[in-house]
């Protein structure tokens, strides 16, 4: 398949460890944030979202943290598995009544056995 993000920052973790992927967003007016996972040769896949009235939200093995003060978002993946290897994008929705998403540059997660 095609390679996504040839020159992206890479986070390398051991299988079973926890992973933390960080993201800084730009627009103070954004009130809705989303994490996507993109595997090679595929389109992005929704992972989890969070609105600005929350600072933490948990899903299955994933947790998103939002710090509005410093405009920072993080995605925590518990017990990282080889299938988690992909490029991860944070995205912000600046609002306006439609789903225009502004994606970050992405982070490649490499999981080693």
């Amino acid at each position: 398949g095609e390679s996504v993000g040839l020159h992206l920052p890479t986070l390398s973790v051991q299988e079973g460890d926890n992973s933390i992927i960080n993201c800084a967003y730009s627009n103070s007016a954004s009130d809705y944030f989303i994490w996507y996972k993109q595997e090679s040769g595929k389109g992005p896949q929704f992972i989890i979202d969070i609105r600005s009235n929350m600072d933490k939200r948990q899903g299955q093995r994933v947790t998103v943290l939002l710090n509005k003060t410093v405009k920072h978002l993080s995605l925590q993946i518990a017990a990282t598995q080889p299938g988690d290897s992909a490029v991860y994008f944070c995205a912000e929705n600046p609002g306006g009544g439609y789903n225009k998403l502004i994606f970050g540059a992405g982070t490649r997660l490499a999981v080693h056995p």
């Binding site: 390679s3 389109g43 992005p44 929704f46 979202d49 995205a91 009544g97 789903n99």
Partner: protein
Amino acid sequence: DAGVTQSPTHLIKTRGQHVTLRCSPISGHKSVSWYQQVLGQGPQFIFQYYEKEERGRGNFPDRFSARQFPNYSSELNVNALLLGDSALYLCASSLGRDTGELFFGEGSRLTVL
């Protein structure tokens, strides 16, 4: 259940030509968005259509146009192709007009020579 389908998957054009990319959303989804993803970067918003009307437009020249049909499928057209238009073009559908949970297709890889 069928996901978002896009065609063609790959195509090669020369500068100055025109291209039409097609997208079929998930059944029941009324919103279709188009994104451009240059290698090594996050997707960039081009258009959103909801209920057959344009609801949002990104920072792309007028050479880019789109439309949505009564069955909610969509076409993206690009005229007077430039080398810089080479990218993966992603289509995403969603239930609502203002949601971050987009369902992406696998994209159409356009190469302009």
